[in-house]
């Protein structure tokens, strides 16, 4: 619960912290979606014909075919794993930051 005694200055810092959190969130998300599109649409579809000229080293897989049937799925799993780790860490950092602002605001309010 936001204490009713929150000073304008603390409220500003709180809003600032939330804004920073949302921006970091959007950056993490955009980078990962870019990787998702590069694997799922770039390697597996758009450049599949060109990549089929090569084979995956050590196997008989034409590279474009491999991306469409196996590789992209592996990339998808990794993208979501990285998202979970990065976002849950960002959440914890954000929580600590907000707790700090609220605690110092509480002291200023004479509680």
């Amino acid at each position: 619960m936001t204490p009713p005694t929150l000073s304008p200055e603390a409220a500003k810092r709180l809003a600032e912290s939330k804004r920073r959190y949302w921006r970091s969130n959007l950056i993490i998300m955009s980078v990962l979606l870019l990787i998702w599109a590069a694997a799922g649409f770039g390697c597996a579809v758009w450049f599949a014909e060109a990549l089929n000229e090569f084979t995956l080293p050590g196997t008989a897989f034409p590279l474009g075919f491999w991306f469409a049937h196996l590789g992209a799925i592996v990339v998808f799993v990794i993208v979501v794993l990285v998202y979970c780790i990065a976002m849950n860490r960002l959440d914890r950092y954000h929580r600590t930051e907000m707790d700090g602002i609220l605690a110092s605001a509480g002291r200023e309010g004479g509680r």
Partner: protein, 617 residues
């Protein structure tokens, strides 16, 4: 012991397990009934989501489709896994923070409109019914092949089981049953793939086996890679190479649009989205998105291996086989009409892409008519072409060349001559896949009717008991309707499934994403966007599949667009219209803007209005 005895044992054991779990997890309140009390651990929710998602179509039909399509079959692999990236990154954490029970709840509250809620309810019901019909059919097919009962008896048994555990346990019963079903279905899918991979390539990992060399005793020579051999055989028979990209109508744009439509459609399917409401907080929602994709990926990276192995067996065991040496699996499946052999008189089978092909399927032809076609073919053969008609030409014109794709997964273990218990276990896996998806869908239907329609629109003052009763009654009615669809399948099931994805892509996905990421979007632009998206997508699919008119290029794309890919265009249209209209309408009222802020902020305790404290619940 016979395959049938093993099947009875496996099916009996797995069904008692499901019912036991249902009894153990029965519920008494709406929160348990709709969202399993929001106390499901992330990994368990991931397994349940995976079982929920992987339907009879994923288990039975997908590998068959890939097997026939080769590279282009990748659209299903990409679409049905890539969608979970969108779901995990763009929707799951925010919808969990929002915290209500259903997808129409979010659409209705965010756009502050009962009309938007109603549009969402209708879409959710349509998508779910389309899907559930296919599941019940899958149950019937498995029962009729492996237990020798009529398809409708199989459907009724399946209906009874789903009804018991869905009404008893609601979401909680369904979740824990799905966890068990996941393990049954994934084991049943992976074990045969491993066994076949060892048999063909000596590699125990099917994904490695797919890219490896055939064993010398299989290939007749050392150092021949499986994919190379498959490409040679297929090119020789006129099918075109298995691994080459962009063959025939599957050009670059079509592959791209179909994959994108399936991805976005996946992210918009209500029975998958609601799973993220069942975990305890935002962080757990993220993790359960990861677990879900991981568990799904286990099946989706095995499917391409199964598909290529099946293709290899199909071509190498059928071609040039004399009538006296028909493989047993062929005789088993011939009875079901899902594969037919129409000989040209030389007494040897030929499975090719040309006019000399002799392998067909009965499709939707009634048995009487089929018998007449085959009798006429015998006369044609006996008279040396003077009398009767060549059945091959008749069946080819009806588009019935090649075996039915649905038998590939079920028949491959038989083709590879694996042990009887493995074959029986695959049957139990197919049932698990069909039942788990059916139960998830029935719950969405039930919550759409009892929660969104009855409680939120028709009778806001309804008590907890009334709502639970309506919810259970709705499941009962939905089971019966689904069963009827399963016994008397409408002839257009495959088109209707494309419809479900197209609608989900063109309606829910843009509405929810904009609802979260753009605070400025208000009721009128969002609802207009949804309606235009739905109408456009529905119009295109109907004109291509029901009216059989030729697909269009819209003057933008280099080739005509496959109706399965139109959802992506509908989605783009929805985004463009909603964002284009937004500046001309006032922003949403302050309460709605506060709600969006709260949804974006996972750690803010003040705004974290949990379900039980929210005034309207």
């Amino acid at each position: 012991m016979s395959v049938q005895a093993y099947t009875l044992i496996f099916v009996g054991l797995s069904f008692s397990l499901y019912l036991g779990i249902a009894w153990w997890s029965r519920v008494r309140d709406t929160r348990g009934f709709y969202v399993a009390g929001q106390g499901v651990p992330a990994a368990a929710n991931g397994m349940a989501t995976a079982a929920d998602w992987m339907s009879a179509a994923s288990f039975l039909s997908m590998a068959g489709l890939i097997s026939t399509m080769g590279y282009a079959g990748g659209v299903y692999l990409l679409g049905w896994t890539g969608g979970f990236v969108l779901l995990a990154l763009l929707l799951a954490p925010y919808l969990r923070k929002f915290g209500h029970y259903t997808v129409p709840d979010f659409v209705g509250d965010r756009y502050d409109s009962q009309f938007a809620r109603l549009v969402a309810v209708i879409c959710a019901l349509f998508v779910s019914f389309t899907y559930v019909a296919g599941q019940m059919r899958g149950v019937g097919v498995v029962f009729s092949r492996f237990l020798d009962v009529e398809i409708h008896v199989g459907v009724i048994i399946g209906m009874a089981i789903v009804f018991i555990y869905a009404t008893l346990g609601g979401m909680k019963g369904i979740t824990w049953t799905q966890v068990a079903q996941y393990w049954v279905l994934i084991t049943a899918f992976v074990v045969p793939a491993v066994a076949i991979s060892i048999k063909l390539t000596g590699q125990p990992v099917p994904q490695v086996g797919l890219g490896a060399e055939l064993l010398p005793e299989v290939a007749g020579a050392a150092g021949v890679p499986l994919l190379t051999r498959l490409n040679e055989v297929m090119t020789e028979l006129g099918f075109g190479s298995y691994t080459d990209a962009f063959v025939g109508a599957w050009d670059r744009w079509n592959v791209l649009l179909v994959a994108l439509s399936l991805m976005v459609g996946t992210a918009g399917l209500p029975h998958v989205i609601v799973r993220f409401y069942t975990v305890k907080n935002v962080q757990a929602a993220r993790w359960s998105g990861f677990w879900a994709l991981l568990f799904i990926a286990l099946l989706y990276v095995t499917a391409p291996a199964t598909a290529a192995f099946a293709r290899y067996f199909m071509l190498s065991t059928l071609n040039d086989r004399p009538a006296a040496e028909l493989p047993t699996w062929f005789q088993n499946w011939e009875k079901t009409g899902l594969i037919l052999w129409v000989d040209d008189g030389d007494g040897r089978m030929r499975f090719s892409a040309g006019e000399d092909n002799e392998i067909f399927r009965a499709g939707a032809i009634p048995s009487g008519e089929l018998a007449a076609i085959l009798v006429s073919h015998d006369r044609w053969l006996a008279s040396g072409g003077a009398d009767g008609t060549d059945a091959r030409g008749v069946l080819r014109e009806r588009g019935l060349s090649g075996p039915d794709r649905d038998i590939i997964v079920l028949a491959t273990p038989e083709m590879a001559e694996l042990a009887d218990w493995i074959i029986a276990f695959v049957a139990a896996g197919g049932l698990a896949a069909a039942l788990s998806t059916a139960s998830g869908l029935l719950l969405v239907i039930s919550s759409s009717v009892a929660h969104d329609l009855y409680y939120r629109i028709l009778k806001p003052g309804a008590s907890e008991q009334q709502r639970l009763l309506v919810g259970r009654a709705a499941i009962g009615v939905a089971v019966v309707i689904a069963g009827i669809f399963g016994i008397y399948p409408p002839g257009f099931v495959s088109e209707v499934v494309a419809f479900a994805f197209g609608l989900a892509a063109a309606s829910f996905f843009p509405a929810i994403v904009l609802g979260i990421f753009n605070k400025r979007v208000s009721t009128v632009p969002a609802v207009t966007g949804m309606i235009v998206g739905i109408t456009f997508t529905a119009w295109y699919i109907l004109r291509c599949s029901i009216l059989k008119e030729a697909p269009l290029t819209f003057g933008i794309f280099p080739s005509p667009i496959n109706p399965q890919g139109i959802g992506a265009v509908g989605m783009a249209l929805n985004f463009i219209i909603t964002l284009g209209l937004t500046p001309f309408f006032p922003p949403p009222r302050e309460g709605v803007q506060k709600m969006v802020d709260a949804v974006r902020e996972p750690e803010d305790a003040a705004a974290a209005l949990s379900v039980e404290d929210a005034p309207e619940h």
